[in-house]
Amino acid sequence: MTKDQASDCGPDARRRALGLLARATVDELAGPLARFWPDVTPRELRPADTGLVMLRGRAGGDGAPFNLGEATVSRAVVELPTGERGFGHLLGRDVEQARRIAALDALWQRDGDCALLEAHVLGPIAKRLTAAIAKHAAETAATRVEFFTLVRGEDAA
């Protein structure tokens, strides 16, 4: 199955993939990389590093932006021998994980590898996240207040 058939090839599909990769655990990326692409050694185009991004809020929630504070972020840019360039970004200081994301982003762009990635990397991450989101939502929903009004004596009469 080619990349075109597995999912659309536009920026939205790639963005979705990168979003899932950014939230992956180390095992969810290291495991499949070792299992399916053990001989893939992408070249680092720029040394992977950790830095800061400034997070922003909006005044009043929907007004003009303001700088809220920074977050640590790690990033990597790699290139496969076949020419695909992959970008890895995630919150936190795990540079090795950024490299894994970049490698998988590059592989995602290769026909043939994309479907494998969807099945063995993105699919399992999405499944875990869906379950976690559902659990949090269910716990939160249990704390929703059910108001009931008391009928007063005069009204009931």
Binding site: M54, A59, G63, A64, N67, G92
Partner: protein
């Protein structure tokens, strides 16, 4: 005047060793781990992240451990750590309307789309010390219920705004410059974005006291909690080589919208006014205090006379940063020997002159 003093290297080395020893404490007691701090003292971690202005839970947890629980010392450590990292860019502004909610309440309306959702709150506890906690009793998992579909909880301020009863926030063109107090020295009057950035990293205690003062009459707020929401929002960074904003992961934030005293006049219809607070983690008291102080500082926008300390921009913004504050307060510990000798000499001379005059008068 500061004296350059030498000597004391050995004393300092020994002091650091003593500090490390005391920090570890009784070796028969298990050492506390940063994971435990991150998990079980999560609100301490949230405060350190907010006031050091760096969202990284493990760094904040480690700083708390290193600082032996002294929160401002921990904040100082994280501020220092922040200076060792290069900045890559600015994230897209958070869409708190799309937050994955863990808590959402309003004091203005009982029935809201999405409802009043309490989340993990202390609000209704009876504040009785729980000795079961000390006994290490196992804690059961939380109860669950069926969840509503996402997007069920619109902003309360939008609901009030539907009838044009609350002022709207001003928006800005997409690439308008945003003030950055980490780059430009503050100047007064300060634009609102710089004020919000300053308040966001401000000391919770200081802002709480100022917020309280506005309620006690030092300022004319009549505030209501329009909405408090706590949960996760997505951080996204625009990467030029990709041409789109890349998701980086989730950030937990608390947002508070205060609905305050309505005002009108000059032909404008009366509308509720607003204050806004936003903080990292589940930092509700901070977000609320920030919102009240934000509103107090907006005196110009509402033609209000600045009478209370919370309305004094220079007072609030220059003193709310606890690292700056402790820097100057604690610097008093540095040797001021020569300074003090000069004072002592002056005082003695004045005494002598005074005594001489008194004798002469007799």
């Amino acid at each position: 005047m500061y004296v350059a003093v030498k000597g004391g290297e050995q004393a300092i080395r020994n002091a650091h060793a003593l500090l490390a020893d005391k920090r570890r404490g009784d070796r028969d007691v298990p050492a506390i781990t940063t994971t435990q701090i991150d998990e079980q003292l999560a609100l301490a971690v949230d405060r350190v992240m907010s006031e050091s202005s760096l969202y990284d839970r493990r760094i904040a947890a480690l700083a708390i451990k290193q600082a032996r629980g002294d929160m401002i010392e921990a904040i100082f450590l994280v501020r220092a750590y922040r200076t060792t990292l290069p900045r890559f860019g600015f994230c897209e502004p958070f869409d708190t309307g799309a937050m994955a909610l863990r808590r959402r309440i309003s004091a203005t309306f009982k029935d809201l789309p999405g409802g009043q959702v309490l989340g993990p709150t202390f609000d209704y506890t009876h504040r009785l010390i729980d000795f079961e906690l000390d006994a290490g009793t196992e804690v059961p998992t939380a109860p669950t219920a069926s969840a509503p579909p996402p997007g069920s909880s619109p902003r309360v301020t939008d609901l009030i705004a539907r009838d044009d009863l609350i002022e709207r926030e001003t928006t800005a063109p997409h690439d308008a410059p945003v003030s950055d107090i980490t780059r430009d020295a503050p100047s007064f009057p300060s634009p609102r974005d710089a004020r919000l950035q300053t308040l966001a990293r401000g000391d919770e205690g200081f802002l709480l006291g100022l917020a309280y003062s506005t309620q006690r009459g030092y300022g004319r707020n009549h505030p209501f909690v329009g909405e408090i929401r706590f949960g996760e929002v997505e951080a996204e960074l625009f990467v030029e080589e990709l041409g789109f904003a890349v998701p980086l992961g989730e950030v937990a934030v608390t947002e508070c919208q205060m609905v305050t005293q309505f005002t009108g006049g000059d032909g404008r219809p009366a509308r509720f006014t607003r204050g806004y607070g936003l903080a990292f983690g589940q930092s509700e008291r901070k977000a609320m205090s920030m919102a009240l102080v934000d509103r107090a500082l907006r005196a110009e926008d509402y033609s209000e006379e600045r009478k209370g300390p919370a309305q004094d921009e220079e007072f609030v913004l220059s003193h709310c940063d606890n690292v700056q504050a402790t820097g100057f307060v604690e610097h008093l510990k540095l040797p001021h020997y020569v300074d003090f000798q000069a004072e002592l000499a002056l005082l003695r001379r004045l005494r002598r002159e005074g005594e001489a005059k008194a004798e002469a008068a007799e």
